[in-house]
Symmetry: C2
Subunit: 224 residues, 2 copies
Amino acid sequence: MDKIRIIEVKQSVFEDNNKDAENLRQELKNKGTFLLNLMSSPGSGKTTTLTKTINALKDEMTIAVMEADIDGECDAHTIKDTTGVKVIQLHTGGMCHLDAEMTRQGVNELGVDGVDFAILENIGNLVCPAEFDTGSSKNAMILSVPEGDDKPLKYPLMFTICHAVVINKIDTLSVFDFDIEKAKERILKLNPNAEIFPISAKTGEGIDAWVDWCRRQVKEWQSK
Amino acid sequence: MDKIRIIEVKQSVFEDNNKDAENLRQELKNKGTFLLNLMSSPGSGKTTTLTKTINALKDEMTIAVMEADIDGECDAHTIKDTTGVKVIQLHTGGMCHLDAEMTRQGVNELGVDGVDFAILENIGNLVCPAEFDTGSSKNAMILSVPEGDDKPLKYPLMFTICHAVVINKIDTLSVFDFDIEKAKERILKLNPNAEIFPISAKTGEGIDAWVDWCRRQVKEWQSK
């Protein structure tokens, strides 16, 4: 296994996270790097979705990944081994989310010169990451079928701040009591502009529409 | 649907959460009330596991439940409608965990005189709730099969502070790539005293051993 660089990121000493985030977003805009902040519960399939997404796009653009975790680096190894793109591991020292300053430390260590599409895989948590603007260009989240269609009712902020919601593990719909139309309705009630992508990262079903959304975001970010 | 009482709980203004927690634990001990703090990711099956557990025990002891959520009260209704025990809903105002003071506010509103077994269903989150002693007698968590057997590697603190780990949704083992022996080994490496209960809250498989663990905890708490 290749060695993965591990960065210990520290929370901002500054008060104004929103301003930090806006500055980082503008800097990334000037560099032509689209940064996607990808969030979800633990175990929803972020890493598998990412490897499929990266492999579908890596021939047309330069991609780099920041894997954030409390501890461990198994996802960073998975991404590196299955896609070959540049990956670093961010450790948050127990913190449950990333703020803009932590993201900036990651971006600086990763190096985004010439990177078209940078991806931050946030801590697996539906609560705290939703409260902190990371400076990303767009936010996306994954809700997996086994978690249940009631999650938008319980974690409304997360569904409100995401531009795209991936509903993953649709290959297991027959096993779980998950009403996909009800889930969509609940998401759109909170966030009428959300784009929703039912997929199975495992079988590949639905992944093209999601990949196409990512492709469009990168192109729009670089052209405006 | 019966009306559910909703309590807005506020974080402690005091610094010393550990002392608050120890005081609450002692007060509950004096009252003979065993308080279980039940934690997990979103959608791991806490509520379904609880309804099965309560229905198995409610004829032998008095049970009461505090449902904690960022928003909504659907789980509180489910518990009330399917078990008939006393339930209140705690809303945390966006907070990602409960501390001892918030738990005390809940305990006071719930009323635990004559209650043998009180249950706190914590916020669905594998990170922050692990960092705050709630004053509970014991901690338990649920890891569900769809989340993956790597979760102890990524969220080590949660697995370290729990006296019991329930592995739920074992009826879906054939659908997911989850190695139950590997999961057990990873949990026991972090926490050699953890008691591990593979169950399916849906089919009832394995639930008796978990219910028996709860029964023993309540009896030991009341006899010492």
